[in-house]
């Protein structure tokens, strides 16, 4: 479990600090943080190989906005397109899932990673998302982000 948490932390730091240029810090009380968000994005992708499962990403709409601006180098006064925000969350899901699988299972294991999807999530579904066995929660530039990892047999 500890090794898994370390893998999550390493991959999230790589994705958000190196790529997203965001400051990552530990967060507390994820349910309350997500409940206070006006809009949430939900990204997910399935993987198939020695084990099958899903990697999920739950984030605040403002988080997606900051990530997208940082990656593209766009000023705050420019309005971001909804399609670009979804694209940023999709790419984040892709980067996290691919790196998390390699970090966890090593380079000798081959996985087929499905094309990531992005949608909205209802407030009532937040708790069940956070109740997954392997969920990592943090704040990036003060905005909540949770990454879940589930295997089919679990």
């Amino acid at each position: 479990m500890r090794a898994f948490e370390d893998a999550f932390a390493k991959v999230i730091s790589l994705a958000l600090e190196d790529w997203g240029m965001m400051l990552v810090e530990a967060g507390e009380n994820p349910a309350a943080s997500f409940s206070a968000c006006e809009y949430l994005y939900f990204g997910w992708t399935e993987f198939h190989g020695v084990t099958n499962g899903k990697v999920t990403v739950l984030c605040d709409g403002k988080f997606a906005d900051i990530l997208c601006r940082n990656v593209l180098g766009v000023d705050e006064d420019e309005v971001m397109l909804e399609s670009d925000l979804r694209d940023a969350v999709r790419e984040l899901t892709n980067v996290i899932s691919g790196n998390l699988l390699t970090e966890t299972y090593g380079e000798d294991v081959v996985f087929d990673l499905m094309y990531p999807q992005v949608g909205a999530v209802a407030a009532k579904d937040i708790e069940s998302f956070l109740a997954q066995r392997f969920t990592y929660y943090c704040l990036a530039d003060g905005k909540p982000l949770a990454v879940g990892f589930s295997r089919v047999e679990e």
Binding site: V95, G98, D108
Partner: protein, 128 residues
């Protein structure tokens, strides 16, 4: 005449960032073409000859693995340089891609510094 470069990635923001990095790298770029999957890229290559291709692997419609297989069967693109940029980390996939003569494999996320260094290295061997 500058370089003609094709970027194949389903992500619009990744394509935009790559384009920006290439232009900032000081390369003599004549034109940058974009495709959002392998099939669109193959269609585009029917009428265009490019000097370098950036390729993602995990894409809808046609992924990067299948694209590479088909690209190398095209007599006009047997040796076109390809740089793969992907989250795929398995050694087996990388070996397969190098067997299909890719020039470099970069793991996402890629910093502009590593990208520039790799592009300069790959294009260094191409005469204009």
């Amino acid at each position: 005449m500058g370089y003609k470069i094709l970027i194949v990635d389903d992500s619009n923001i990744v394509r935009k960032v790559l384009m920006k990095s290439l232009r900032l790298a000081g390369l003599d770029v004549e034109r940058i073409l974009e495709a959002e999957n392998g099939q669109s890229a193959l269609d585009l290559l029917l009428n265009e000859q490019v000097d370098l291709i950036f390729l993602d692997i995990n894409m809808p419609v046609m992924n990067g693995m299948e694209f590479m297989e088909r690209l190398r069967k095209d007599p006009g693109n047997v040796a076109t340089p390809v740089i793969v940029i992907s989250t795929e980390g398995s050694r087996e996939r990388k070996d397969t891609l190098f067997e299909r003569e890719i020039r470099a494999y970069l793991r996402k996320p890629v910093t502009p510094e590593i990208l520039n260094e790799t592009v300069l290295h790959v294009l260094g061997g191409i005469e204009q």
